[in-house]
């Protein structure tokens, strides 16, 4: 019994020794790279945002002008997401929202969309998806300009019945053989616009987070 205890302690000490050294190395590398990581993440986000919000539309630090958006069925989100606000001379010009289309052909499609202050879409981009390569992936921009079909659309121009792919009697293009994917995105974008219309005031409010629903 005593021998078991002694060898356990000896071996455990040995393990702890390596664990401490390993943790120390990790901690130092973490702090060394932390700033660079934050910076490259922001640069990447900025790249995505400026694709859908033309730089001429804002003069504020859009990355810092953010707002926690609680999960909402209209956005298809289950966690708190972040909205970025674009302002020109202090006036709200557009808001960047994250939205999830839950019913893609193979799972969720994550979208980012920019809505102008007047409710018009400035642009939509797919952030991540698992649709079939070569078939359902024309929703990605370099592959196909399809996603640009949303630019300038609003719920003023198109009524609810128009927010469907043409096959279902709506106004949006699709590619034969892959209708489920665009159907999911069109639906999600329409719902996000409804969300925008319902929450416009809070979304642009200076610093008050939208807190209609409770955070999880």
């Amino acid at each position: 019994m005593k021998r078991i205890a002694r060898s356990t302690i000896q071996t455990a000490t040995n393990l702890v020794f390596f664990a401490v050294i390993g943790t120390a190395i990790l901690a130092s590398v973490f702090f060394m790279t932390h700033d660079a990581i934050v910076k490259s993440e922001e640069a990447e986000k900025m790249k995505l945002i400026t694709q859908i919000v033309p730089p001429a539309m804002f003069d504020n630090d859009i990355i810092q002008d953010k707002l926690d958006v609680p999960p909402s069925p209209l956005l298809g989100t289950e966690d708190v997401t972040i909205a970025y606000r674009a302002r020109l001379k202090g006036e709200p010009s557009a808001v960047v929202l994250e939205s999830i289309a839950p019913d893609g052909y193979s799972g969720k499609i994550a979208l980012i969309l920019a809505v102008r202050a007047n409710g018009e879409l400035a642009g939509v981009r797919v952030v991540s998806h698992k649709e079939t390569p070569g078939l359902g992936d024309y929703i990605e921009l370099p592959k196909d300009p399809w996603i640009k079909g949303f630019d300038g659309k609003s719920r003023e121009v198109y009524k609810d019945a128009d927010w469907k792919v043409k096959k279902d009697g709506g106004q949006f293009e699709y590619m034969a053989g892959a209708t489920i994917t665009p159907r999911a995105i069109v639906k999600a974008v329409n719902k996000a616009l409804i969300y925008y219309a319902e929450n416009r005031e809070q979304l642009f409010a200076a610093n008050a987070p939208v807190k209609k629903e409770k955070h999880k």
Binding site: N14, T33, T132, P133
Partner: protein, 232 residues
């Protein structure tokens, strides 16, 4: 370590004991990220760096680690190294970090890393172990690169797509459109394409080996043997 050992270790990693087509270790990332040259080579190089570092750091402490807990200690060290590489890629190669995603942390569980540490670094010096790890990693990189090229050309008609993620925006123009206006061949991009490609690579290597053997047999008292004798 003399030059001959140095060369043998390298030859072992690149050809004789190539992890990708001979040992068949670490096939999960091999098959998953080899859809393009850039992805394959990047993950291969990241693995090579981890393998070299793990060889270099485990060999010097091999006599201080009790045999019974060597596996947890080795894994701990490998995990630390992989996390360091992950942090560095996240900070300085963000685009690539996003593309490779889960496969960077998965290097920890790539069996080839632990296999080399266990088989080589726990019995040899630091220099030789680092070199062995790096050679094995390069062998894997070569397979990933060839497989990536095969799948990319067949599947998308391009070569080096996404190189700007690894080397910055200025590399964007380096993408080769091997087949202009290519419609794409889905099978090559999907997982079965990886299996078929790997099968062809293994077959190709075996064929080359057999041919070399046959050649050696046809020329009995061959000159290279004589040459070696003189050297010795």
């Amino acid at each position: 370590m003399n030059l001959q050992e140095f060369r043998d270790i390298f030859h072992n990693g690149m050809w004789k004991q190539n992890p990708g087509v001979v040992q068949l270790l670490g096939l999960c990332p091999l098959l998953a990220v080899s859809s393009s040259v850039v992805n394959g080579v990047s993950l291969g190089l990241a693995t090579a760096v981890v393998m070299a570092l793990s060889g270099a750091s485990i060999a010097p402490i091999r006599n201080y680690v009790p045999n019974e807990i060597r596996i947890p200690v080795f894994i701990l060290i490998i995990a630390v190294l992989v996390t360091v590489v992950q942090y560095l890629m996240n900070a300085y190669m963000y685009g690539l970090y996003v593309v490779l995603g889960i496969f960077i942390p998965l290097i920890v569980t790539n069996c080839i890393v632990l296999a080399r540490v266990e088989a080589f670094a726990s019995k040899n010096g630091a220099m030789a172990s680092a070199w062995d790890g790096f050679s094995m990693g390069l062998g894997l990189t070569a397979v990933l690169g060839v497989l990536g090229a095969f799948r990319e050309v067949l599947g998308k008609g391009t070569l080096f797509s996404g190189i700007d993620l690894a080397l910055g925006d200025m590399a964007q123009s380096w993408v080769l459109h091997v087949v202009p206006d290519y419609k794409g061949f889905l099978l090559a991009i999907l997982p079965p394409g990886a299996f078929i490609g790997l099968g062809l690579l293994i077959a190709g290597k075996n064929w080359l080996n057999l041919r070399a053997e046959a050649k050696a047999r046809n020329k009995p008292a061959s000159t290279p043997m004589a040459g070696e004798a003189i050297q010795g």
